[in-house]
Every structure is written in structure tokens, then in C-alpha cells.
């Protein structure tokens, strides 16, 4: 497993006020692969993923040190244009968060705020993105309907489509299936399998089976530290660290 590196994280530390949420994290994220982050609640995996597109900036009193190299620049630099960054590194949230607008207006939201006005272009983007998120067939006849009328699983795939419409390179997913039923979850997982051909994906999950099914590499987080990072199959079958072993074998969680 030696692919191209998309994002390289070195000595990342992060504090909320006096609380250190991330401790000296070092990870290389591979291009066009799914990287899973697992660990018990509060271990820092969500905080970590939100650092990659600087969404933690929204929190009061956040401080960070270290570097996250992406396309030859350090994302954590204070002069990083976070608006531009978030076009390249997009995020799908835990709870589906469609805007209270029509399905169509949701998908083309990104392109619109980035200045695309041409109706035909927007329609092409909408179709391509909805197809990319495997939801086109379910919604193509009701694009004008409110997105809030979709089921939870459909809403989440719509949110993925909305992200694809911005044409990012990296997709960050913060427990994207945790609020969904098993059938909707398996649709999201199938989708991940398709998406990794074109995108670099980092997914946070509390579901170890899910990590095992969808990812090629997995990182285990514990109390703000990155304990072990290895090809998924190795991490689950031959964990090197005692805590990883205890976690993946279900001794704590």
C-alpha cells in the first residue's frame, strides 16, 4: 500500500481553551483512498477531521500548532483563505443538513455562491452531482420539491451530491451514516466505494465493521492521541498497540 500522499499532517496539536484535544498527531492521508478514523467518543477524531478544512475556527478559543501540508502549502497558516480551502476540502456532517430549499437549490448551492448563474450549466452540474451521489434516479422527477421531504438517507446522499457539485478533491465525512438505518447506511458505503476512485476520503466512524468494510487505512485515536495508523486489515488483525487491540476486540469502547 504505497499510494500518493494527498495530505501530510505533522506534529498537530490543538487546544480548546486550556484543554488539549489533539496531541502531536502525525498522519499521511493517501490520495484516492478511504482513510478511516476510529476510536471511542471524545477521542479527538471529529476534532481532527474538522481541522482539515478549518471548521474548528468556528469554535471560540481554539488554538493549534503543527502543520497540515496540502498541495504544497500549510493549511494551518494564518493567511490560508479558508473559503477557498473549503472548496477543495469539503465536509459531510454527522446529521444530514440539507438547507430548507428545493432539492435542486441544495445541489447547486455551492456553484451558485461561487458565481455560476447560467441555468443550463447549473442543471448539468445538478445532474452530474446527483448521479455521482447515487440519488439521481430517486429525485430526478422532483427536483423542485423541498429537500426536507426526503428520507434521512436520501438527505445525506443529497448532502454528498451538494458537496460533489463544488468539485472538491477531498471529502471529509464525520460519521455520515450514524443517524441512518442499516439499508441507508449500506447505500452510503456502496457510494464511498465508487467515490474513492475520484476523491480522497477521510471518514470518522464509531462503527468498526464500517471502517473495515470501506477503508484501506485506519487510524485509531485515543484521548487526543493517534495511537496506531496502519492498513485497515493489519490494524484489525494484527494491532501493534495494546490499546488498539483492546479497542478493536471490543474490550472497551
Amino acid at each position: 500500500m504505497s499510494g500518493e500522499i494527498e495530505i501530510s499532517i505533522k506534529n498537530l496539536n490543538l487546544w480548546f481553551g486550556n484543554f488539549q484535544a489533539l496531541k502531536n498527531i502525525n498522519i499521511d492521508i493517501q490520495k484516492n483512498a478511504v482513510t478511516a478514523l476510529i476510536g471511542p467518543s471524545g477521542c479527538g477524531k471529529s476534532t481532527f477531521i474538522k481541522t482539515l478544512d478549518r471548521m474548528n475556527d468556528l469554535v471560540d478559543n481554539v488554538k493549534f500548532t503543527g502543520e497540515i501540508m496540502y498541495k504544497g502549502r500549510n493549511i494551518l497558516d494564518s493567511d490560508t483563505d479558508v473559503v477557498e480551502l473549503r472548496k477543495e476540502i469539503g465536509m459531510v456532517f454527522q446529521k444530514p443538513n440539507p438547507f430548507p430549499k428545493s432539492i435542486f437549490d441544495n445541489v447547486v448551492y455551492g456553484p451558485r455562491v461561487h458565481g455560476i448563474r447560467d441555468k443550463k450549466t447549473l442543471h448539468e452540474i445538478a445532474e452530474r452531482s446527483l448521479k455521482g451521489a447515487a440519488i439521481w434516479d430517486e429525485v430526478k422527477d422532483r427536483l423542485g420539491e423541498s429537500a426536507l421531504r426526503l428520507s434521512g438517507g436520501q438527505q445525506q446522499r443529497l448532502c454528498i451530491a451538494r458537496l460533489l457539485a463544488v468539485e472538491p478533491d477531498v471529502l471529509l465525512m464525520d460519521e455520515p451514516a450514524s443517524a441512518l438505518d442499516p439499508i441507508a447506511t449500506s447505500k452510503i458505503e456502496d457510494l464511498l466505494y465508487e467515490l474513492k476512485k475520484d476523491y480522497t476520503i477521510v471518514i470518522v466512524t464509531h462503527n468498526m465493521q464500517q471502517a473495515a468494510r470501506v477503508s484501506s487505512r485506519t487510524a485509531f485515536f485515543w484521548l487526543g492521541e493517534m495511537v496506531e495508523y496502519a492498513p485497515t486489515i493489519d490494524l484489525f488483525e494484527r494491532p501493534q498497540n495494546k490499546r488498539t487491540e483492546d479497542y478493536v476486540t471490543g474490550k472497551f469502547g
Binding site: 471560540d60 472548496k87 469539503g90 443538513n97 438547507f99 461561487h114 420539491e145 423541498s146
Partner: protein
């Protein structure tokens, strides 16, 4: 058994307390409408009041005056209150400035309206006379704006606060700027609450008397510019009662005033309900 009887008695008393509000409202409305409605006619609404005690003609100019001062108050207060609420909720973190501004709004809301009127008199009518024309629609409207501002600021802020953080994150996560997120996602979602705040403020302005008593002038002719003096319906009721003891016209005007306020309340409720349902995709 005694405990059970006490329970029944308590429920009865609480029921009575709840019903009291309804009864009081109905009594007031019925009293005004029964006495006032017979006077309302097309002539009453479209003719101007007579001058110098020649009353019982019409109230046209007072309706115009009410609309005009309320309009001025809203035009001034709406951008300040909505803008202020957006600033407080979206652009500041929970800090001292934010607490101070919020407290200021509460204190402003608590200032007795006659004191707002007194300030309006000294500042708008006397000091800014070259611009406001002295006693005028503009002076009255500006004084009323001070009363609308805190109400609508507070309600707008609550409405913005009620917009789920996930929607903001979703928008920012797609590479929208903060301002784009506010205008395209946050504001439309909060709009029913913001409009409700403005309408409540407008209701306050329409019903206010003390703040305009000293600022608007009380002239019974139709105002033709913002610098003309005028006499809104509330002030007219006060004047004809205290100066001419004309209770009949007072009831008639009061009935019109109440109908206007009820109409605004119910129309807004209906429209906002529809908008909210549409927003939720129902």
C-alpha cells in the same frame, strides 16, 4: 379525599386565572367595538376631522398620520434592529460588548414612553428643527423608532439563534463566505421570526401615544411631507377626549385602531405560518 378536593379546587382556580386573560380581552374588544362600530362608515374613514371642536365628521388624516409615523419608525428601526441582531449573533463571540448591547436593548425597552417622548421633543423637535421641521411626522416617527428598535432587535436575535448551527456549517463547508451563508441560508430560515419581531414593533408604534404626544404636533390636516405635523389615531383619541369630551368619535377611532391591529396580527400570523410550512417542505 381532602387532598383530592384540594387538587380539584387548585385546578379550578388555575383554570380561572388562565381564562381571565381571555375574558378581559373579550370584554375590552366587545366594549370598544359595540360602542365604536356603529359610527364607522365610508364617510367616517375618508372625511377629515373638523377643526376647532367641530367633530363627528371623519378621521381620514389621523389614519394617514398613523401609517406615516409607523412607516418612518419601521424604516429607521428595521435596518438597525436586523443589522444589529445579525452582528450580535453572527459576528461577535460571547463577550462583554455583546452583553452590554443586549442589556442596552433591554434597558431601552424599559424606558417609559413619555420619557422617550420628552427626549424626542428636546432632540428632534427643538434641536434638529431645521431638519425635522419641529413637530412633525419625522420627529414622531423617530421617537417611535426608539420603541420599536429593542423589541425587534431582541426577537430578530432569537430568530437567528434558532437557526441550526448545522445549516451554517453546511454552507461554510461548501466554500460560501460568512456573508453568503447569512444572506442565502440563515436569513431566509430566520425570516418568519424577524418579520414577527418587526410586526410586533409596528404594533407597538401604532398603539403608542405618550412618545408622540410631544413630538408629532397634533395637526388635524393631512400631512403632505415628513416635516408636516400630524395627528395619529391614538393621539386623536386622547385629544378629543381631553379637549372636547367627544366620547363617540373616540370610540369610533378606537374601533378602527383595534381592527387595524387585529388585522395586522392575524394576517402576519397566517403568512408566516404558510412561509414556515413551505420552508419545512409541508
Amino acid at each position: 379525599m381532602a387532598a383530592k378536593r384540594r387538587e380539584t379546587a387548585a385546578i379550578g382556580l388555575l383554570w380561572g386565572a388562565g381564562i381571565a386573560t381571555l375574558v378581559i380581552l373579550i370584554v375590552i374588544l366587545a366594549y370598544i367595538l359595540v360602542n365604536g362600530l356603529p359610527l364607522i362608515s365610508w364617510h367616517f374613514l375618508t372625511a377629515n376631522p373638523g377643526v376647532r371642536g367641530q367633530t363627528g365628521t371623519g378621521i381620514y388624516s389621523t389614519i394617514v398620520a398613523t401609517v406615516a409615523v409607523t412607516g418612518v419608525a419601521l424604516l429607521v428601526a428595521a435596518p438597525l434592529s436586523v443589522g444589529g441582531a445579525i452582528y450580535l449573533n453572527e459576528y461577535t463571540k460571547e463577550n462583554l460588548l455583546r452583553k452590554v448591547i443586549r442589556q442596552a436593548a433591554e434597558v431601552l425597552a424599559g424606558i417609559p414612553s413619555i420619557i422617550i417622548g420628552l427626549f424626542g421633543f428636546l432632540f428632534f423637535v427643538i434641536y434638529l428643527r431645521p431638519y425635522t421641521g419641529g413637530w412633525s411626522v419625522l420627529s414622531g416617527g423617530l421617537a417611535l423608532a426608539f420603541m420599536v428598535l429593542p423589541i425587534s432587535l431582541r426577537i430578530s436575535e432569537e430568530a437567528l439563534k434558532a437557526v441550526p448551527a448545522e445549516l451554517r456549517e453546511g454552507s461554510l463547508g461548501l466554500g460560501a463566505t460568512k456573508w453568503q451563508s447569512i444572506t442565502t441560508v440563515v436569513m431566509p430560515t430566520a425570516l418568519p421570526g424577524i418579520i414577527t419581531g418587526l410586526i410586533l414593533g409596528a404594533g407597538r408604534a401604532i398603539g403608542e401615544t405618550a412618545a408622540i404626544l410631544l413630538t408629532v404636533g397634533g395637526a388635524l390636516s393631512v400631512p403632505h411631507s415628513l416635516q408636516d405635523p400630524a395627528c395619529p389615531m391614538t393621539l386623536y383619541i386622547y385629544n378629543i377626549l381631553t379637549e372636547y369630551n367627544d366620547t363617540r368619535t373616540a370610540y369610533g377611532t378606537a374601533a378602527v385602531l383595534i381592527i387595524v391591529i387585529l388585522a395586522i396580527t392575524f394576517t402576519t400570523d397566517y403568512l408566516m405560518n404558510r412561509y414556515t410550512r413551505k420552508l419545512k417542505g409541508l
